[in-house]
Symmetry: C2
Subunit: 250 residues, 2 copies
């Protein structure tokens, strides 16, 4: 298996916080054609990246969908006329069942499909992405194999090959709980910073890392993941039981 | 102000997890006389520490109370007949209002009183205590001054001088929330360890650091702190509101 991508360029649909992270890390390896209708003229792009039309970005042999899950069906319909036979389309969403279903339903059978979820973001990747994890789900065809090899060998990522369902079950706890707790802590207003313990400092670091994620990411993690609501309910029930016990007459 | 304690030895009443930590770090500086009725014969003690009678431990010029808050009133009554005039009695509990009230009510006026709360424990002090924080509250007399100087200069601690009420208000959030979340996560059973994010890893580290604290510590933090219940209620309400929003029809 080659660890070099056989692609000649990649199209990046969407240039939000996560699109920027992808462009910064992939453009040094592969020419990057970016299309985002919301991209202001004169936006600074990393070396190797160019802003272009939808047709040109979607005509690359690797097309990465980097928009909120709620916009993915429309994006699939928009790119379809421009997709080359044999091209690979990959998404980078925080859930994997919904994007896999959307891509399978809306994208033509002559393209291969791969679901990916980089388990890091702009905050947690500040110190570099080497050693960080990425989930990769085969959806249609075998393009996940060279992609996984490239992610390992060239970006130094730890690749977790999994299925969309297994991914979403784990992410419901991993991301669902972390973001829920971070959002609640953020809403509590200024929290103590002086008289803190090591464990509270870690809790605050965890919250700080995710609390500025855009609303689309939070919606994907909490609302588009079918396993997230039961995890939240379990956590809420346990917290209520503990609170009741601590406040009890004893 | 001297940074040397003028005490000739210290009595340590209670040799639980926290008593052990105190003995390990103080015995190199000051002979340590330990009394704990639950101490099994042949328990290994750090160099400089000796197991002894209640009378002898309570007869030192510095006496440290290291038992659960619920046992502190009985301990105060037990040590009283043996306390020397001019001695200093300090507690190390996770709350400060209740121990301050108990010590003021039960200990004779001829001893000085200091409340302390080392903001670390056996888990978070594994890498050493240098740079860790300790809250110090003057309660009766001025013994907090040489004690704070010693803690800074000889143990390398960051001393936060505060009042029992200000301490308990901050600790209600810092420790109350951390322990509540840690207990809830622990009750959720085996959590994912493979497909994790950096923020979830931090959350798990925070929980791991406190979830094995003895029940007496948890009771002090959640039940003996008068400001903890409102903080828990606020967190619970916010989590429920967020859950409702995420599960709603948008």
């Amino acid at each position: 298996m080659s660890c070099h991508l056989t692609f000649s360029s990649f199209g990046l649909l969407g240039f939000g916080a996560f699109g920027r992270l992808i462009a910064a890390h992939l453009a040094p390896h592969l020419p990057c054609l970016i299309h985002d209708p919301a991209l202001p003229d004169g936006t600074a792009l990393p070396p190797g990246a160019t802003a272009t039309s939808l047709a040109e970005a979607a005509g690359c042999d690797l097309v990465i969908l980097a928009m909120p899950v709620a916009e993915m069906a429309a994006a699939c319909r928009a790119v379809t006329p421009h997709l080359r036979p044999g091209a690979v389309v990959a998404d980078v969403g925080s859930v994997k069942l919904a994007p896999a279903a959307i891509m399978q339903a809306h994208l033509p059978s002559h393209v291969a499909l791969v679901g990916t979820h980089p388990l890091f973001g702009p905050q947690s990747a500040k110190g570099g992405i080497g050693g960080r994890k990425i989930a990769v789900c085969p959806i249609r065809g075998k393009a996940h194999l060279p992609i996984a090899a490239f992610l390992r060998a060239r970006l130094g990522l730890r690749v977790i090959l999994t299925t969309p369902e297994a991914h979403d079950r784990e992410a419901a706890t991993v991301q669902g709980l972390t973001h829920l707790i971070a959002q609640a802590l953020t809403r509590m207003g200024p929290l103590p910073s002086r008289m803190t313990t090591a464990s509270f400092d870690l809790l605050m670091q965890a919250a700080e890392m995710v609390r500025q994620d855009p609303p689309g990411v939070l919606a994907a993690i909490e609302s588009a993941n079918p396993f997230a609501a039961p995890v939240r309910t379990e956590f809420l029930t346990l917290v209520a039981e503990l609170d009741h016990g601590f406040s009890g007459p004893d």
